[in-house]
């Protein structure tokens, strides 16, 4: 499949020249084309931020909702129609800050969705305030004396919660990111891919070069099915590991677990209202 089928003609792209978001967009389009997933089969869900605008630049079904609220919407779209492939895309601020509560409890539900987080360690859209992943002492127009809090570690948080697929990538490496993304999309269950992404305008510390110098890929010696080992690697900060940290292939998904699909696999949104069932339900309460 030609990745061009995902192009939107004359899209008025709001990103700065050189932004890592462009390469992530390119990577996603190529991944989908290589997996032969056509636009009608997909829903992109996002919150608010520069990353959250990505669905506007790719031909697909889209729900671009509120800041921090991409995951509950994703889980529900999946629940009413499990045949649809969901890709949730948003920034580090949206996903881990205001969306933090949803982020945690979504892992417990384990819907079959792929969650891409553009992690540029800053609030890009709102012009450079600290995000939950901003590093200590990072100076911003708001945190003028530097960030005083410890950064949030999404990878170790989700491994602690036994998330079913956990990976970190770097936007500057399209080839490797594509491989990770393919596995994440094919994986059944919740998949987090935190993608390091340079923000050329508001993060002059964690630049393209910084990410290159401060990351390395996990090699074959890493056992992706070993949760403890994955956790140990996730807390490394001297250099940040990239690649797949952890997979738990044995978890049931949200859709598997909810009552409407226990006996009937027909998507809820394709079922008809059944007045006899309702009557029976009401009578059962008498």
């Amino acid at each position: 499949m030609d990745p061009k089928i995902f192009d939107i003609k004359n899209a008025d792209v709001a990103w700065c020249p050189g932004c890592g978001d462009f390469t992530i967009l390119k990577t996603i389009k190529e991944t989908l084309a290589e997996l032969e997933i056509s636009p009608e089969k997909l829903v992109f869900v996002s919150g608010i931020g520069q990353a959250g605008k990505l669905p506007h630049y790719i031909k697909s079904n889209v729900f671009n909702g509120l800041h921090g609220r991409s995951l509950p919407v994703s889980a529900v779209i999946k629940a009413v129609n499990p045949e649809i492939i969901i890709i949730t895309v948003s920034g580090d601020g949206c996903s881990y800050g205001e969306g933090g509560n949803h982020f945690i409890h979504n892992i417990r539900r384990n819907p079959d969705i792929t969650n891409i987080v553009h992690n540029n360690m800053v609030y890009g859209l709102t012009k450079g305030q600290a995000s939950p992943t901003s590093q200590k002492d990072f100076n911003t127009p708001l945190q003028i004396e530097g960030v005083s809090s410890e950064p949030f570690n999404p990878i170790s948080t989700v491994i602690a919660l036994d998330a079913s697929f956990v990976a970190r990538a770097f936007s500057g490496d399209i080839k490797q990111t594509k491989e990770i993304l393919k596995k994440a999309i094919k994986h059944r269950g919740y998949a987090l891919i935190d993608i390091f992404q340079p923000c050329v305008t508001f993060n002059k510390v964690n630049t393209f070069q910084w990410f290159k110098n401060n990351t390395y890929y996990l090699d074959e010696s890493h056992d992706i099915f070993n949760r403890e080992e994955a956790f140990t690697r996730s807390i490394e900060t001297e250099k940040y590991p990239l690649g797949i940290f952890y997979i738990n292939p044995n978890k049931k998904t949200f859709e598997d677990n909810i009552i409407p699909y226990k006996t009937d696999k027909t998507p809820v949104n394709q079922r008809d209202f059944n007045i006899n069932k309702l009557e029976k339900l009401i009578n059962s309460k008498r």
Partner: protein, 233 residues
């Protein structure tokens, strides 16, 4: 039988808007015998269309309603956005388009106004005194009026409190005296009636200690309000 909840769902589906049903502790805590619902009256509307290839989620239409598609049903792509957008869905900062989209959304309100549930008038239509209530004040007011057996008093009970039809002013104007019972501290519905109709209700009885009105309390307030009139003609 009216199914208010069902109407709310159908309205929300048809107009693609949130519909709020207000409740309170009295409503959720009371128990009473309820006849079995007549499900034959259920009207389960379906407003989802099968999308054509060139589907536009925010199509500008005369009544303001853009036909609603969902992903995976039909040939079109469905794009929903929380920021201002064009008909296709693209984000826009075009000021003219912004005005058109606001107008489109407001045209829906005109349609919704055609479906307002009018208030119920309980009692005769030749009333001198009109008691107004909404929500859970229904029971105590109705029972108080049944006890008083005064043909001069009628009860105007609102099931829908927003939007309201400005023509209710005529019903209010027909009364010599008007009194409203509200379970809140500021009489918000009194203010809303004034805002939408210009009509000023003469007497507000407000109770906001967390308890519902008792029948005796309504009777006492009515007696005070109309002096010796309670057991009149």
């Amino acid at each position: 039988m009216d199914f208010i909840y069902q109407k709310a769902f159908n309205l929300a589906d048809h107009y693609q808007i949130p519909v709020f049903i207000l409740t309170d502790q009295y409503f959720v805590d009371i128990f009473y015998n309820q006849p079995i619902f007549n499900l034959k009256d259920l009207e389960n509307e379906n407003h989802i269309i099968k999308t054509p290839a060139n589907y536009k989620r925010y199509k500008i239409t005369a009544n303001g309603i853009s036909p609603r598609g969902i992903p995976g049903y039909g040939e079109g792509l469905v794009v929903v956005d929380s920021d201002e957008h064009d008909e296709q869905r693209h984000l826009t900062e075009d000021l003219e388009l912004r005005t058109q989209m606001v107008d489109k959304r407001l045209r829906k309100l005109k349609e919704i106004e055609k479906e307002i549930i009018p208030p119920d008038l309980l009692g005769g239509s030749n009333y001198k005194i009109l008691v107004i209530g909404w929500g859970s004040t229904y029971g105590p007011i109705k029972e108080a009026l049944d006890n008083l057996k005064n043909k001069d008093i009628s009860f105007l009970y609102f099931k829908q409190i927003h939007p309201i039809d400005p023509s209710i002013k005529n019903i209010l104007n027909n009364a010599e005296k008007t009194i409203i019972f509200e379970n809140n501290a500021q009489g918000q519905f009194t203010d809303l009636i004034k805002l939408k109709t210009g009509f000023e209700i003469e007497k507000k009885v407000l109770k906001y200690n967390g308890m519902p009105f008792s029948v005796e309390e309504v009777e006492r307030n009515l007696e005070n309000f109309i002096g010796g009139l309670t057991h009149g003609s």
